[in-house]
């Protein structure tokens, strides 16, 4: 039996037993998201397609699946969706500039060494693809935080209907702050776990400190961690502001 199939089976069983219907929906959502990512990659192979635009569309679809399919379509998830989209667009612009300036795009020396049989003259823009990788790595965390901030703000509004926009915003910021550390941690460990082999190689081949920090792959990885951190921080004020705005704009909330 294929190890991946068995692991997927174990995960499905656990999610179904512990999470019931919602667990099964979460499992399906993983596959749908995987499919979205794959289709995005397939379209990227066309040199005429703009990777940045594709990424934005893919991120929108992914957060749609996460927010509307696992949860449901209501005003909480809708505000979370808008916040995610806005933050993703802002971050994409920022990350694009960062990747271009730091020249972390494309493959590293260590990677090219291993895949010599392939042609690297592909005609697609790897600067944009590098930006797309960074934002895609954090889209899960950004979406999670958006719903985690907006949902309790709706509850606060329900219990204190007279709360002002400013107070509501501050409440959202307080909720977000508590999540900031754990979310940054989740991303951080995931990236380091994925790159243990690289770190061991640096020590084994006796790279100096200067060589490590200027190395393309290491820089790219650090940029991913730092930009991920900026993303999970930025989503907090964006969500808090949008939610506060939406909640205090209409005198009566339908939900």
């Amino acid at each position: 039996m294929n190890a991946l199939v068995v692991l997927a089976g174990v995960l499905f069983l656990l999610m179904a037993i512990i999470g019931g219907k919602k667990g099964i929906r979460s499992f399906i959502a993983l596959f749908v998201n995987f499919f979205v990512l794959l289709v995005a990659v397939l379209i990227m192979t066309d040199p005429n397609a703009d990777p940045i635009l594709l990424t934005l569309v893919a991120c929108a679809l992914i957060s749609c699946v996460t927010l509307f399919f696992i949860n449901e379509v209501n005003s909480k998830t809708k505000t979370a969706f808008i916040s995610t989209l806005l933050t993703t667009a802002l971050m994409l612009l920022f990350i694009f500039i960062v990747t271009e300036q730091s020249m972390i795009h494309g493959f590293g020396e260590e990677e090219v060494e291993e895949q010599t049989i392939y042609s690297y003259y592909l005609g697609i823009d790897f600067v944009k693809i590098a930006a797309s990788v960074i934002i895609m790595s954090t889209i899960g965390a950004i979406t999670d935080e958006a719903i985690a901030v907006s949902s309790p703000m709706f509850e606060i509004r329900k219990h204190h209907p007279t709360i002002s926009r400013r107070e509501l915003f501050m409440a959202g910021m307080r909720i977000g702050k508590d999540l900031l550390g754990t979310n940054a941690n989740t991303l951080f460990f995931a990236f380091f776990g994925g790159y243990l082999a690289l770190l061991i190689r640096y020590i084994d081949l006796e790279y100096t400190f200067g060589e490590i920090i200027n190395n393309k792959i290491f820089s790219a990885e650090m940029m991913t961690i730092l930009c991920g951190g900026i993303g999970v921080a930025l989503i907090i004020p964006v969500t808090a502001w949008i939610t506060a705005y939406v909640l205090t704009r209409t005198p009566k909330q339908a939900d």
Binding site: G20, V98, M103, G106, I129, L180, A184, G210, L226, A233
Partner: protein, 377 residues
């Protein structure tokens, strides 16, 4: 009232003081990193002029069209014995910039220097100097985290640094001691990191102890389940030969990576479960175990989907460039996916198993702690 104003003023003063120190540090480090060439042993050159740029259209055997540019560059050496002298470099990049970047005036590169027959210094580009860009983004990260999270932002950064140091120390230890397996050392590191991080986030409280126990149980159970599954399936479907950057046997590094990679997510679940159940208990000391269990399961259902999603994208997105490389070199979709994704998907699935398992583990460990508290009072 006056006293209050004074306190407020003091707090403001303190904040201003801290902010200006930070700003000063930022400035000093930025100046330093732009003038640190003498601290590097490798020669560094700054591009002063792009003399010539030739372009040629290329089409590879898979009908991919690209344009290759060859830049002839004059640069000034910034360190070493020939500091200040001119050097001639060439840089070849393509429109896709899949490997070498496009250089422009002002960029700094690491070079190897040779003297040509005419006495003119020539060299080849070894790498790009990326420390300035890294530092700028690092400062942006620090400012954004502090602006949004204040104290929590600071705590988040401290815990990131502490954990990075622990991981680096553990890896050093592994390489220095030949006989101890990486998995054992990383397990030790995982125990230390989860205890420190969780104590740091929520302090010496019963709910922290519950979160620590839940995290450790969850992490090691996911490790054993994954090892067991890989064992009974003979690792079928896993393409270890495609693991990048190997300097040692892959299996051990891979398992240690799974352990470390899932830790953050599992800790997150452990904290969420214990802190939300404890706050329910604190609101109502007489709450029944049945109610606690039902609320716990509800909370767990809400977080399991998004948490597995976070890990999934953190792992799988990194493969996009290689997926494109394979696909555009006409590799079949099945081959491309199995070569590039089998290990990342295994990581994501294993992490997902850890996340979901930690929900009931966190629930029952926390209930035990609450029961113990109820009995004591």
């Amino acid at each position: 009232m006056n006293k209050l104003k004074q306190i407020l003023l003091q707090v403001k003063m303190k904040q201003w003081f801290l902010a200006s120190i930070l700003f000063l540090l930022c400035l000093v480090s930025l100046v330093f990193v732009n003038h640190n060439a003498t601290f590097y042993h490798k020669p560094i050159a700054e591009v002063s002029e792009i003399v010539n740029e030739e372009q040629a259209n290329v089409t590879d055997s898979k009908e991919n069209h690209d344009v290759v540019y060859t830049q002839l560059i004059h640069a000034t050496l910034k360190n070493g014995e020939e500091k200040g002298s001119q050097i001639e470099l060439t840089n070849e990049y393509s429109d896709s910039r899949a490997y070498h970047p496009k250089l422009s005036v002002g960029d700094e590169v690491f070079v190897s220097v040779e003297e040509s027959s005419s006495g003119q210094l020539v060299g080849s580009i070894a790498d790009i100097k990326r420390d300035q860009a890294l530092l700028v983004v690092a400062w942006l990260f620090i400012f954004v985290l502090l602006a949004v999270g204040r104290k929590q932002g600071l705590f988040a950064m401290i815990s990131l640094v502490v954990n990075a140091v622990i991981i680096a120390y553990a890896l050093d230890l592994y390489i220095d001691t030949a006989n101890v397996s990486l998995l054992v050392i990383m397990s030790g590191a995982v125990i230390v990191m989860s205890i420190l991080s969780l104590l740091f986030v929520s302090g010496f409280k019963a709910q922290t102890y519950a979160a620590i126990i839940a995290t450790l149980l969850g992490t090691f159970m996911l490790l054993f389940i994954t090892m067991y599954v890989l064992d009974i399936t003979n690792e079928q479907g896993l393409r270890f030969e495609e693991m990048s950057f190997l300097s040692r046997p892959p299996q051990a590094i891979f398992m240690a990576g799974i352990l470390v990679g899932a830790l953050g997510a599992v800790m997150d679940i452990g904290v969420s479960m214990s802190s939300s159940l404890f706050s329910l208990y604190e609101k109502n000391n007489a709450i029944s175990i049945k109610d606690l269990r039902e609320s716990g399961i509800e909370i767990g259902k809400d977080i399991m989907g998004t948490m597995t999603n976070i890990l999934f994208f953190a792992y799988v997105s990194g493969t996009i460039p290689s997926l494109l490389l394979y696909l555009m070199n006409d590799a079949s979709l099945g081959f491309t996916l199995s070569m590039n994704l089998s290990l990342e998907l295994t990581r994501a699935l294993a992490g997902g198993i850890g996340i979901v398992l930690t929900i009931p583990i966190g629930l029952y460990v926390t209930i035990l702690f609450i029961l113990w508290k109820q009995v004591k009072s």
